[in-house]
Symmetry: C2
Subunit: 353 residues, 2 copies
């Protein structure tokens, strides 16, 4: 195992607990970092107040390095006609659940990195800042760098990794096809050509000189070791943390993770407007899973919220985004700290403690 | 590395040179087997006479174990209306190339395993027989088993692996999403839910007690080692052999393998009627890559042959099936024997000789 990811972040084990907006709690970050890995707090679904509250809690309970994660998309232009068509597509589900299809809907809650978030970075000085969907504008990136943070970002192709390396990113996350949640693609949007982790890691390691962190499909000791054998400097693990006591997920999500078969995740854009991997459900079967009808990221989700509010409570997964990577069934049943040590030592090639 | 795949096949290195119909030559099989791996002759595109000629050549030049590979599909019912619609879709390309869209077309040349092929097995007694697209009918399978051959077959999900194990298969090939050529799926046909090798191998190894051979995306030493780390007993490698002197591929195919970027392969059913991974070209961009218009396997290919006959010669890849796995860019530049030893020793964890 290469030492350079440990030196870069100042951590003890070459594992990043992946930021999972909505599911990652402050306690998960604390436990992952205290265990020697890099805990990651996802900012995309947190208001400034929620984020600073979480950071206060985290900094009070760990002095180890942490990662603060953001989405780097551009907020889309308003497209009321597309929204109306989308609501029309979903109207039959509203009627089925006794809702008025014309009722006001909430707006989606995924915010891009901006001045306000950047001020939080400057105030709290996380040791690492990670970006998804490319990078923010140069002025913001310069401020993040000036705060002292190491900067990392996701890539789904060699070209994206090279693009990030050219812009001075400190390490790149090689996000395999197997990964759960939103794909980090930003130069390509062809989901048919996304690359499996087995093919992606070695090609990316050959193409850039910065460290490569393997992500997607790594959920147990075998995966951690294989990622390093492929040439990765470290691993990022998400889905395996979803069943820890430190995760905040719905019961329908938990039940699906425990019971769905191995080939039940697909890429879908229905829940936010961008492709993300999750467990197949009724909405994905009937409309998608990838559909031109979904409005631009992140606005597709608003019209689904009233549906979910009813079905989730009733234990029905029809309209829920149940993000999961393809190795979800391999998740070892344990807490965040133990999982971090288990997989971190496997990646490091050192005996688990 | 587990020893059991070596014992099962009577080989020295845990590597199978994948059968690639059209591209695999008798010399490739000879060199792979003589190097200590398991050379594989694909039967699907060979007549009985061509197959026995190849087997005569192979048996004369190696006494090591070999694998004879067959497709186990059922020949489809004739569907002249669907064929006519397909020819209508392709008519504009015929006109563009100065051909008459109504000219007689050849029939596709992929044959399923049947009595005649089974007689070849009984006569030549290959040490291993491998099947793709499931298994042939029980009576034929019984005859293959009675010939003394070990039987292996491809699986793309845990359920398919269990189905094969229940039918007495001696080892299962875990075919990851990354693999080039025809996907081996037979119980599922949902291409959106196909599983990457990273997630597939450990889940399959947990689910069946027979040996698991990893296939798809393994092209270099790193991949060979990673497959074993994931729990595979051995590896099957295809695409990496395409650039050896022992491969029989067209110039357009060779040029694409040398020059296409990492994210340029997709699954397409346009060339035969079943999904296969190949390098993106004009036909796939304009019609597919996965289209309901393609007639049933293997009949889709006939109408493309007159187009290919013109373009291939002119160095134009517009209508060519250029099969490739997602790691095609990692292929080490060497001959079949050297490649077999390099990857075989990497999988075995022994020093390359």
């Amino acid at each position: 195992m290469s030492q350079r990811i440990l030196d870069l972040f100042g951590i003890e084990l070459p594992i990043i607990q992946a930021p999972m907006a909505g599911a990652t709690t402050a306690q998960m970050v604390i436990d992952a970092s205290n265990a020697g890995g890099l805990g990651s707090l996802p900012g995309a679904m947190l208001s400034i107040d929620q984020m600073t509250a979480a950071l206060d809690e985290i900094r009070a309970q760990t002095h180890k390095p942490i990662n603060l994660n953001f989405f780097a998309h551009l907020a889309p232009a308003a497209d009321p006609a597309k929204q109306m068509a989308w609501r029309s597509t979903l109207a039959r589900y509203y009627v089925e659940l006794g809702l008025d299809p014309a009722e006001p809907i909430p707006s989606s809650a995924r915010a891009p990195f901006d001045d306000a978030y950047c001020r939080v970075v400057e105030q709290y000085r996380p040791e690492v800042v990670s970006f998804h969907f490319g990078l923010p504008e140069e002025a913001l990136l310069t401020r993040v760098r000036a705060s002292g943070a190491k900067i990392i970002a996701s890539a789904t192709t060699v070209k994206e990794a090279q693009w990030l390396a050219e812009r001075g990113v400190d390490a790149v996350i090689a996000m395999g096809y197997e990964a759960g949640g939103h794909r980090g693609n930003f130069l390509t949007h062809d989901m048919a050509a996304q690359v499996g982790l087995f093919s992606l890691v070695p090609q990316m390691a050959d193409a850039v000189s910065i460290p490569v962190i393997a992500a997607g499909g790594i959920a147990d000791v075998r995966g951690a070791r294989a990622a390093v054998a492929l040439g990765a400097d470290g691993i990022q693990v998400g889905t395996a943390y979803l069943l820890t006591p430190q995760a905040n997920i719905s019961d329908v999500h938990r039940q699906a993770l425990l019971n769905a078969p191995d080939d039940s995740t697909v890429l879908t854009n229905l829940f936010t407007g961008r492709p993300a991997r999750g467990i197949l459900n009724r909405l994905m079967r009937e409309i998608g899973p990838l559909s031109d009808q979904a409005p631009a990221f992140p606005t597709a989700g608003g019209a689904l919220m009233p549906l979910r509010a009813i079905t989730d409570k009733a234990g029905i997964s029809d309209f829920s985004n149940m993000w999961a990577g393809q190795s979800f069934r391999l998740s070892p049943p344990m807490g965040t700290a133990e999982l971090t040590r288990l997989l971190g030592h496997a990646a490091a090639g050192t005996p688990a403690t």
